[in-house]
Subunit: 515 residues, 2 copies
């Protein structure tokens, strides 16, 4: 494409849209999830895996975990045979593994558009946007607090892209909405502007229940009782503490037969040891306990085994992201999780960079490839993450979406058959000739190669004449174009009305609170 | 570190130098090569590997390879039992594999500083700078033709970094030196400004021989006859053509018991099929033939099995780099190469980006991680590569060097022992407390985490106050600092004098030629 074409495409979009459609068709547009065609990367030996499991068992048996402000959780543990001393719970080796046997190895999270229902677990991979930033950024306006408008924009950008399978959850904090009412607007926006699976709130038990109630409006109460339609992401307060807010939300999701994603956040040297093996053992212990609690609340409820390892700068105490230690840690966690037979949430597109620059994508790509190789099934934080999760970036979102696209091709691996091996092409072309017009090329070129939307593969001179844009500048044009071209998926009017009434009623019932 | 510290460090370097030394000590400064502590990533089944091998055998037996302008090579093939018809050579299945059995699975490339001698093959990994760009770039002066000054600068930057193990070869073309004399200045510069292993010229048989003769001045004729001290990188003229210039250079290296690195460059859809499996089979066929030819010239000579797969934009015909297909292809090539028992050169830090931006590092990181996972032993193009290999970038070089550093930690994998598992730390710290000052942290923090030289992990506000630099801007400061602080390694005066006399005599012997 020429520089003029680029301008044309940005202005008019028609040609670009056709190209995109062709590309999506070729590379799997509209896949509700990816089924991996490459093996997981198993980094540790059986012997070393057993050593980590033994270390986790020792943490659980000797130090234990505190479950604070949740008497029901403590009761569950007592009944299950754990030793409960005040809020401290210790577990005999093997006990949690036994409880976890009732959790499904994979399950379907239903979307309101059945074509988008995603399979989570097994060989399947689901990409979801980043989660939880208070700030948003773009190249025009810099950093600012996120608003509901930003939140909706990111849902629309994700929905517009064929490279996500999930609308995510708290993509950014809509800080212009009171804290105690945000979840209502967030869940409504996911349902209204996306027809993919999504996540609900976990910041209080009643907000979790509101989120699930809204899902019941969409899917019907009976359906929800039997099928997973919403995820909640609950965090351990590492090291070795589960706060009541989290366990009550975890139990709310499990009670409704919905999926709690259980995630310790371990910043090595702060919330865990500075050594990778120790942080991994701790992560295993904390997640096993959380996932087991879902089964005590409701046997058979879906749950996801999560991990979030991070290193730190030991000069400044700042967290670091996208570094090699957590990438390697992810591979180990993947192996440990598969031995438990649970779906895995791991890694994402992490970075500490404050800009969508070289730093951001070095760390992000290493981190995302770790998620791919370790066998992660649900990859939250696939796109938009900047500044150690404090900011959601519009440009980074587009760059990351493009990487997610490339990873579709990566996960497809290499196909081996006579056509792919081009067995007859060599005789046709012969030594020293080119393959441009040969029959094998003509038969295969449309589906041949991943085609990036943000890379500039043009010759230097064309790129120079077109303004010498860097990738972030191209991404800036692209998100604006995608927002302009966004079309909302159909939503049944009755459902929409019922949802809006629910939100209005709930908002009216309590005064605004900003904490 | 604070913003003021950053300025201080850039200005004075003392604190930074100390930090760097500490960091290098922690993460393996001065290692002459990496011995991987993580497994290779084996992507294909035995059955599918055999299918690719069969496809390569069929290409070799039915279509064959042309060896142009080199009667000696054709004679070698006749004597070895291949069928030679004009310049076309065909090979019975199994014939090349039999010949390749005499090539060493690993070997040492000696450096003039014995501490830097590198082991190539087996579980060892060697990083070398990019190779062959006519242009250089930096943020101050943009793109321009490379000069001998640039060439020397890049050698100095590589030598200054603990993250390379090899000085490389034609890091950029010194276009201010006549083409027929460049190799003399390049080889001299590698020897003068670096004390690591290096590569010689391959652009003509006599230039290869000059390169080897200069190595003989440094190491002694007898030593060179028995040990590898120089590599030459020879390219197949894909598809299925070996030009005489290349085979004569290949034979010159082999004849001297030096190492020819054998590399097809296959741009899918142009020099090979658009399908990955076909390009891989072709690459296998072409490289087997080249590596086997080294053994016919001198049985037992070291050789490296190389590959360079690339995809293309089927819209514009432009080559693309750092895309998922070649990354996946690298893993397959790695498995095929290990079945041949040869050292592997594969992948590098590839991109089509014209700037050291997000685009560059997305592609570069995917591409470098493919090299790491596929088990590559000699990773040429580890640093500096921009614009599809047309430009060597000062800033990208620094960013890539930093990634090479991170990959040292990555390749070290995860260690599992009682200290790494932090078995006693959990009891000491207990639930809800932090690990900052605990005895396990104090005992381990100095060697705990990879510490990037180009990332900015500071809080947003500190980064903002320090000028909001992106990674490329930081890299721009860094290469200037490294050049200022560079100190040449000791070189024996007699050797230096003999090298300079050799260069002067050779240059005087023939008129300048610019082709």
């Amino acid at each position: 494409m020429t520089a003029e074409d680029t301008v044309h495409r940005v202005r008019h979009g028609g040609r670009e849209a056709r190209r995109r459609e062709r590309s999506h068709k070729a590379t799997g547009h509209g896949r509700p999830y990816i089924t991996r065609n490459i093996p997981t990367y198993d980094i540790l030996s059986e012997e070393n895996l057993q050593k980590i499991e033994a270390a986790a068992d020792r943490i659980l048996a000797e130090t234990g975990i505190e479950f604070r402000d949740d008497d029901v959780a403590l009761d569950h543990w007592k009944k299950a045979g754990a030793k409960v001393d005040g809020v401290r719970v210790t577990f005999e080796p093997g006990m949690l593994r036994e409880i976890l046997k009732s959790a499904p190895a994979e399950f379907t999270q239903h979307a309101r558009n059945p074509e988008n229902s995603a399979r989570i677990g097994g060989r399947n991979v689901v990409f979801a946007p980043a989660y939880g930033s208070p700030f948003v950024m773009d190249l025009d306006r810099g950093r600012r607090f996120g608003t509901l408008q930003d939140f909706e924009n990111f849902i629309k950008l994700a929905q517009s892209s064929p490279w996500f399978h999930h609308s995510g959850g708290t993509i950014c904090e809509p800080t212009d909405v009171p804290v105690n009412k945000r979840h209502l607007d967030m869940v409504y926006s996911h349902i209204r502007y996306s027809d993919r699976p999504f996540m609900g709130s976990v910041t209080a038990e009643e907000r979790s229940e509101d989120s699930i109630d809204m899902a019941r409006i969409v899917f019907g109460r009976d359906f929800v009782d039997e099928n997973c339609v919403i995820l909640g992401n609950v965090n351990v307060n590492s090291p070795l503490v589960w706060d009541g807010t989290m366990t009550k939300s975890l139990r709310a999701y499990a009670r409704a037969n919905q999926c709690a994603v259980v995630v310790p956040f371990i910043l090595g040297g702060a919330m865990g040891p500075v050594t990778n093996a120790g942080a991994i053992a701790q992560s295993l212990a904390e997640t096993m306990a959380g996932c087991a609690l879902t089964q005590l609340e409701r046997k058979g409820a879906p749950t996801v085994f999560g991990t979030f390892l991070s290193s730190m700068s030991l000069r400044s105490g700042s967290p670091t992201f996208g570094t090699p230690e957590p990438a390697i840690g992810s591979m180990v966690i993947g192996q440990l999780c598969r031995r438990l037979g649970l779906p895995l949430r791991c890694s994402g597109n992490f970075t500490t960079s404050k800009l969508p620059d070289a730093h951001a994508m070095t760390e992000g790509t290493m981190s995302m490839l770790a998620a791919i190789h370790c066998g992660a099934n649900f990859i939250l934080h696939s796109a938009g993450f900047l500044d150690g999760l404090l900011s959601m970036s519009y440009e980074k979102f587009m760059l990351d979406a493009d990487l997610c696209g490339a990873l579709h091709t990566y996960l497809d691996g290499v196909k081996i058959d006579d056509n792919q091996l081009a067995v007859d092409a060599f005789a046709e072309v012969g030594p020293g000739n080119h393959f441009f017009g040969c029959s094998h090329t003509m038969a295969n070129y449309e589906t041949a190669f991943w085609d990036s939307e943000t890379a500039d593969n043009e010759p230097f001179e064309k790129w120079e004449a077109a303004g010498q844009d860097d990738a972030a500048t191209r991404a800036n044009r692209l998100w604006k174009q995608h927002l302009r071209e966004y079309e909302a998926p159909h939503l049944d009017e009755g459902v929409d009305k019922a949802l809006r009434e629910f939100v209005t009623k709930k908002k009216a019932a309590v005064p605004d609170a900003w904490y």
